[in-house]
Amino acid sequence: MTPPSPTRATEAPAEQVDGGARSGTGTFATRMFGIATLVTMGWLVAFGLGFSPADRDQEEAVRIMYVHVPTVWLAYLAFTVTAACSGLYLFTKKHSLGFDRFAGASAEIGVVFMALSLATGMLWGKLTWGVYWQWDARLTTTALLFVSYVGYLAVRGLGGSHDQRAKRSAIIGLLAVLEIPLVHWSVRLWRSLHQEATVLNTNGDVDMDGLMLFSLFVGVVAFTLLYVWLLLHRSRVMAMEDQLDDQGLDRAIDARRAEATS
C-alpha cells in the first residue's frame, strides 16, 4: 500500500493568481505594513544614494552602509525573535505551535538577510579595506552564526510530528542563542591579539553627520517594517502548510479505515 503524500499532493489550479485566492496571506494590516515598507524603502534609496553626503574618509563607499547595517540589524532582530519564540513555546503551558511557526519563519528570514549582510559587507570591505574578507571579529562571528542557523533550519526539516519539530527546534533555537555570546567573545579575544591591517578605517565606523544618521535611521525603519511584513506572511504560509499536513493525515486515516471495512 502506498501512503498518500500528505503535502503538495495536488497542484494548485491554474487560475491561482486571481479570483478567490486574491488575498493569499494578506490582510489589511499586512497591506499597511507593505505600503509603509515600500514608501520607506523608496526613501532609503533616495537618501542613501542621493541626499546623504559622501564621507570624509570613505567617500562614496559609505553609501553601502545604508543597506548593510539595516540587514545586519534585521538578521539579529530575527534571531532574537526566534530565541524568544522558542522560549515561549517551551515554557508556556499551552505549547502553542504558533510560537514555533514564528520562530521558524523568523529564522528563515534571518538566514536570508544574514547571507545578504555578509555579501554587502564584503563589497563594502573591498572598498574600505581593499579586501573582500578580513578576519575581523564582527564578520567572523556573523559567518559562524550564519552556519549555525542554517543548521537550525536543517533540524526543523528532520521530520516527525509538528509537536516533535517544535520541541526539537525550540531547544536548538535556545542553544544557538547560548552560542552567540560565546562565539562573539572568543572571536573578539582572538582578534584583539592581532594588529588590524586596514586601508582607511579600522572597523568601518564613520563620523556621521545629521543627514547620514537620518539615512541610516530610514534604513533601519524600512527593514524593520519589511521584517514584520515578511514574518506575518511567512508564518501564515507555515500555518497553512501545517494545516495541509493535518488534512492529508485525516485523509490517510480515513483511507486506512476504509481499507479495513472493505
Partner: protein, 51 residues
C-alpha cells in the same frame, strides 16, 4: 591609477550592493507570497486564523 577609475569601481560596488539587496528581498518576498497564494486555494477560509 587615476581617481576616475576608482570612482567608477566604487559606483559599481555601491549600485551593486543596492541591486543585490533589493533583488534578494524581491525574490524572497515573491517566494513567500506565491507559496501563500498557492496554499490558500486549498484551505478553507475558516481555517485561516487571520481572516
Amino acid at each position: 591609477m587615476s581617481a576616475g577609475v576608482i570612482a567608477m569601481e566604487d559606483a559599481g560596488f555601491i549600485i551593486g550592493s543596492y541591486v543585490l539587496t533589493f533583488a534578494v528581498i524581491a525574490g524572497f518576498t515573491w517566494r513567500v507570497l506565491r507559496g501563500g497564494r498557492r496554499l490558500a486555494d486549498r484551505i478553507d477560509d475558516d481555517d485561516k486564523y487571520w481572516t
